[in-house]
């Protein structure tokens, strides 16, 4: 029982991290109908930028305090993501207005390749580490209930807390601010939103900025867990079933989908994996999402798909 709970908890923590990446996808899709395949590349790019800035800043400015350097690196990397968002809008999206979803998807694939190349050219392609001062040592909880207690990673707990905070912040932003309202209006109907005076181009830049910041946070957390390297870009591929399961347009869907996928992955790996040779995590998540889609094509919380001729 203790082991089962430990696996479950591990799954939930992993799921929280998947939701972080999935959030980036959902935000962009919600506000512009673009399925952003480049989210993984953005996570890699942001993490690379942050890791390297943290390394370079003491040399540039003479700030020796590691905390200040990290914070400054975070801010700088955020600024880089803002510039990136603007460039994507200016160079790509602006020219692809009113194109089909498939075309936009492939454009983001192109962006993904470009960013992977650019990120590694600018920042190098070795393995870098991000140290945001997260405690690494595990703790034991519920000693009294189970023998040996349940092993919990403090790092995971903090990561989950950061993710939860980010989601709360985003929900507030979407529900309570004028910009958030404009974003939701654009998501509902581009043309109607334009006709009441909402500037589409600016909204897109804002959305990509937000997605960039989410990518930065995701990259920071993943990076400090696994190290910043090329494989970070494939984290996006792990997060895709999450949004399929949760629905492309739903922020809570991304969270709950992430938790389901995280738990499903870990439990299947531990309990089914040994029977078939292991390593089934990644396709199990996809299969889970796929089977789910057959019954509910719009995902858990997605909007109902209505076809009109």
């Amino acid at each position: 029982m203790g082991f089962f709970l430990e696996t479950l908890l591990g799954g939930l923590m992993a799921g929280m991290l998947y939701s972080l990446v999935a959030l980036g996808f959902v935000l962009i899709f919600k506000a512009s109908g673009v399925f952003n395949f480049a989210q993984g590349a953005m996570v890699l790019f942001a993490a690379l930028a942050m890791a390297r800035f943290a390394e370079w800043i003491p040399g540039w400015t003479g700030i020796a305090n590691p905390v200040a350097a990290t914070v400054l690196a975070f801010v700088l990397a955020g600024a880089v993501m803002f510039v990136l968002a603007w460039l994507v809008e200016f160079l790509v999206l602006r020219h692809l207005v009113n194109q089909e979803g498939a075309t936009l998807l492939m454009a983001t694939l192109g962006i993904a390749y470009f960013l992977e190349g650019l990120g590694q050219t600018l920042f190098g392609s070795d393995i870098y580490s991000i140290d945001i001062g997260m405690p690494k040592d595990p703790i034991f909880v519920l000693d009294s209930v189970f023998q040996g207690g349940i092993l919990v990673n403090k790092e995971d707990l903090i990561a989950a807390a950061i993710a939860a905070g980010l989601v709360a912040l985003l929900t507030l932003f979407f529900q309570k601010t004028a910009t958030g309202r404009a974003l939701r209006a654009v998501a509902d109907d581009h043309q109607a939103a334009q006709s009441v005076g909402i500037p589409l181009a600016r909204i897109w830049v804002i959305v990509w900025c937000v997605a960039g910041v989410v990518a930065l946070v995701a990259g920071m957390i993943w990076g400090s867990k696994l190290g910043v390297q090329f494989s970070l870009a494939t984290v996006a591929l792990r997060a895709l079933p999450v949004i399929i399961l949760g629905g492309l347009t739903s922020v809570p869907g991304a969270i709950i989908g992430g938790l389901i996928i995280g738990v499903g992955e870990k439990l299947s790996e531990v309990y089914i994996g040994p029977l078939v040779g292991g390593g089934i995590e990644i396709w199990f998540a996809y299969m889970l999402a796929l089977v789910f889609l057959l019954f509910r094509p719009q995902g858990l919380f997605g909007e109902k798909i209505i076809d009109r001729v």
Partner: protein, 358 residues
């Protein structure tokens, strides 16, 4: 002046409906095919065969298959690499497990099994569309990656996980030298090219295109979406499967699952985008472009570096390759969404009027 159809009168329906209604086109295509079979072997050395021509021919075949699904039927697939892998491993298993299996039959069985798997993973396309489907096909990719790596039956229980074939033979003709390999693959490509061209201009092809353009409207006018979509998946995966078998048997000789990773799927999709979606010709252009570009960059970038006095490392070249690929894809989507094939047809249109632009 040379490309004019004045005086070519069509007096029968058959003449009006033929594949290349313009005489010059017909001759040009015949000349190109003849040149590919006879001229190229005389001109080209072994390195060119190995590095460019054989990969080009096989990948063009795969791109043809992907183009049928993505370009003609509008079902975005990111699982083409998986179908190639299924073709390769199915062909491998029938080839080594059945005594005296002819190579051609083994290749076709690869295609057949790829068809089955393709249709299986095509079933979600009846319920989910577009972006959801793109992700759903990734399931095929990751499942196959895993299956061929972990289930040792597929690899005939080899300890290293990589498998190999040798002694390829067709009707007593040994396929050993690069020239033989090239000719063999080219023959298959020409055959499938003709087949695909005829399919897409027939009734089934028009059904695919109707589904692509608007599936609900197509269903309203009496096209069965299930039949159209699944047949597109079937035909596409058959061709991709045969291409996968060729890639493994003829080009690589010995291979492991990594040869058909998700990157291969993306690569095939790029060929279709850059070449031209919904165009048989485009598949060839796309494949040629994507095969040649990395080789070109590998040669050209160091030269450029020398000129400005910068040493360019191999890592930098591979990063530059990614960037150029990405930028080109975006550029093509913005400037010429119909790809290189569109430029080709614009060129032909202009030639018809040349030298007078009206």
């Amino acid at each position: 002046m040379f490309y004019r159809e004045n005086g070519q009168f069509k007096t029968t329906y058959a003449a009006d409906q033929q594949i290349f209604p313009i005489t010059q086109d017909r001759w040009a295509v015949l000349a190109i095919v003849a040149f590919a079979f006879i001229g190229v072997p005389l001109l080209v050395d072994e390195y060119m065969f190995r590095a460019i021509l054989i990969p080009f021919v096989i990948l063009a075949l795969a791109a043809l298959g992907v183009n049928i699904l993505v370009g003609y039927c509008g079902q975005i697939s990111l699982g083409s690499g998986a179908f190639m892998a299924v073709g390769a491993y199915a062909a491998y298993n029938t080839f080594i497990r059945i005594e005296g299996m002819p190579l051609i039959l083994a290749l076709l069985s690869g295609g057949l099994f790829a068809t089955l798997v393709g249709m299986l993973f095509g079933i979600p396309s009846l319920r989910v569309k577009g972006l959801y489907l793109a992700v759903a096909t990734l399931a095929a990719q990751f499942f196959c990656d895993w299956a061929f790596l972990r289930i040792s039956w597929f690899t005939n229980n080899t300890s290293s996980g990589s498998v190999s074939v040798s002694n390829l033979q067709v009707f007593g003709w040994n396929i050993e030298t690069p020239l033989h390999k090239y000719l063999f693959c080219l023959a298959i490509l020409v055959l499938f090219g003709l087949l695909a061209k005829n399919l897409v201009r027939g009734a089934i092809g028009r059904e695919w295109m109707a589904i692509r353009d608007m599936d609900v409207a197509a269903a309203v006018i009496g096209i069965r979406p299930m039949y159209a979509k699944l047949s597109a998946f079937a035909v596409s995966s058959f061709i991709v499967g045969v291409a996968g078998a060729l890639w493994a048997f003829v080009h690589l000789g010995s291979w492991e699952p990594a040869a058909f990773s998700v990157d291969r799927s993306f690569q095939l999709l790029f060929m279709v985008i850059i070449g031209g979606m919904g165009s048989i010709m485009g598949s060839f252009f796309g494949a040629a472009f994507i095969v040649v570009l990395p080789i070109f960059l590998n040669q050209f970038l160091p030269l450029l570096g020398d000129m400005v006095g910068v040493e360019i490392s191999t890592a930098a070249i591979s990063h530059a390759e990614l960037m150029v690929f990405g930028a080109l894809i975006v550029w093509f989507l913005i400037v010429e969404p119909h790809g290189l094939a569109r430029l080709w047809s614009v060129g032909k249109q202009k030639l018809r009027l040349w030298p007078f632009p009206h």
